[in-house]
């Protein structure tokens, strides 16, 4: 009850209330960072994207017309900035390092829910690495949609707003991305019957 809504915070920030904007930043910076991180696959670049997202949003607070949720608005900026970052690169990153933070994060999740079993962790590490490779091999379109829906937990409707496409397109992309990931895992020997 005591916490202001996003819209209220945006309204306050519009009037020059920096604290309100700071609250928005605190509320969403983790998610924006995670989104950027999974798209650009670099912690440093994800930080840049996160900061840039909020800076641009602050500069364009008067553009926010309130028709959509503020976080949708922020997500769209973050996606655009992340894609810009990827496209400005000269080389494509294909290899997933062994200590990829995504893998570590996934293993952390696994451990927190099922305890530490070294053999199992080693196996899960391989699967996680294969999964990250599969995600990285996806096109920007599929990866972005997959990150929004399957990793960030965004609904199809919200993702469709962020990407400005029909919900059906989002659903199709997610389905396609998952299919490709399954294929990739199968090729890597992590198919259903091998586990």
């Amino acid at each position: 009850m005591g916490k202001p809504t996003d819209r209220e915070l945006v309204e306050q920030a519009r009037t020059g209330n920096a604290q309100a904007f700071g609250t928005i930043v605190e509320r969403y910076q983790k998610r924006i960072f995670r989104l950027a991180y999974h798209i650009v696959r670099s912690g440093a670049e994800a930080e840049d994207v996160t900061q840039e997202t909020f800076v641009r949003a602050y500069q364009a607070l008067d553009r926010f017309d309130g028709r959509s949720e503020p976080f949708t608005w922020l997500y769209r900026i973050a996606v655009n900035l992340s894609l810009n970052t990827i496209r400005s690169r000269k080389t494509r990153r294909d290899a997933v390092p062994a200590d990829d933070p995504r893998v570590e994060g996934l293993l952390l999740e696994q451990r927190s829910s099922q305890g530490a079993d070294p053999a199992r962790i080693a196996q899960e590490r391989q699967i996680a690495k294969a999964l990250c490779e599969g995600i990285d091999a996806l096109s920007d379109t599929l990866r972005t949609t997959l990150v929004l829906v399957c990793i960030d937990g965004m609904g199809h409707e919200e993702a469709a707003k962020v990407l400005d496409c029909p919900e059906g397109t989002v659903a199709w992309r997610v389905h396609e991305a998952r299919r490709k990931l399954r294929e990739h895992l199968d090729k890597q020997g992590f198919g259903g019957d091998t586990q």
Binding site: K3, A18, F21, G22, V25, E26, Q29, K30, R31, F33, R34, Y37, H38, G43, Q51, F54, V55, R56, A57, Y58, Q59, A60, R63, W73, R76, N80, L81, P101, R102, G105, L106, L108, E109, Q110, S112, S113, A128, L131, S139, D140, T141, L142, L146, C150, I151, D152, G153, V162, L163, D164, C165, W172, R178, L181, R182, L185, D186, F190, G192, Q195
Partner: protein, 503 residues
Amino acid sequence: MSLSPENKNDPSTKVDTLLASLGAVPAREDHAWEASAEAIVKAAQSAPRASEETLAALFAAPTLSPEPGEATRTNEAPTRPTASAGEKSMSQDSNSGSSAKPESAPMSGLTSGPMSAATSKRPSLKELAARASQAGAATKQSVPPGALSAPVVGKPLSEAPPAPAEKPARTSTPSVAPTAPSPVAAKGSDSGKSKEDSGIVDLNAINKAATAKQIADAEKAKPATHDLGDEGEGEKNAVAASDNKVKSLAEAREKKKGGGATWGIVVAVVGIAAAAAIMLKGKPPAPSPTANVGQDKPAVEAPAQPEAPKLAEAPKPTSTALSLDSLPSEPADAPKSAVGGDPGKLAAAPQATGTTPEPAPAATPANGAAPVPTPGKVGDLNSAMAQAVGGAGDKGSDGTEEAVPAAGGKSGGNQNIPEQPSQGSVASAIGAVMGGAKACVAGADDVSRAQVTFSSSGAVSNVSVTGWAAAHGKSGCVQAALKGAKTGPFSKPSFTVGTTIRP
């Protein structure tokens, strides 16, 4: 999000589970986030304002190239106008032309395929029309009201030497005439309204000015029109043909006419003979109406087969005349024996009358006998059909229990229980309790994740909570909320699904 043993073999579930596990925010200390937030706010306040174009580009929809499959789907939209354009022209062709649109001709010109063929027709039509109008008195343009279709196709034919044997051809063509001429007629009136110089307008004018003699001549030419249309692609071929082609076609038509009439007569005679043969053969087993029913299929597939009487013998063992209740019980075998020509088994079926009803699979050849008619309501087709498909109607005196697994085979009646719950049912089940779970994490600054395990009964057997809720002691609240989820039963021992709880 862990891979529970029962889900490990499901690649789809595994991918989902792993993806959800990836949602963890890269590890950082809280103070690092706070410092980062402060830095961001300061940067936002001090940063030079970006240009409007830059901001507009950032707020615009992300430019993501469509995927291959997605591209084909999105391409459907552009193709629709083309198709609709095509449809319009087609409808204009098929309609009487009274509602023809002025731009019908341009549209047809834009479209490819058939329309390009239409464009290629025009010169020849024009030539034909000009020739017809020049020929004037010598030729026969008339368009009888009933055969308005004649003008376009009839014209070239009229130029050909008048067919000597119109009358027989005329008698044989009526059945074909309605198909070919109608588009032609529509086209003619269409084009006339659109004032295209396709030549059809001239024809109409000529038709109006036609003399009685010309009309009579055109009458002679009419059968030729039908024949030409009959040869397929009616207007296309006929109109696109040059004068020489038209003449050759007319000659060919003349040759064909005699043959067509002969063939028509031959076919009619053969048909009548076949019908008579069927009638004659069908009469002997006629004593009971059921026999006729059983005989229908063999009669159609092999009219002169001797199996028909044997099939009719099948019901004999029954004490009374064949009744409808004997039919539904053997829907699977009856057609087989009728087609496969093994009436012996079919004949044996009724001999078992009086035994207990058996489920459908029991009627397999392994048993050596066809299924026995159930002692249901005699003549009740609905109940008989229900029994035939193994439905509730099988509730016989002693076959009640067996009839149910019969449809499910070895599954032991689990036919309707899916191996695992559908995504929709799981989503709705979790969605129903998500409100309560969200209430637990209200005010959270990060998402929480829960792994919900459903038992085979559909009830939640376990909930594992991670993320913000777990870190802030809200696991119990979330678990309590999510344990209320309920989905339909399924055959797997359990099914685990991950969900993200956003504040």
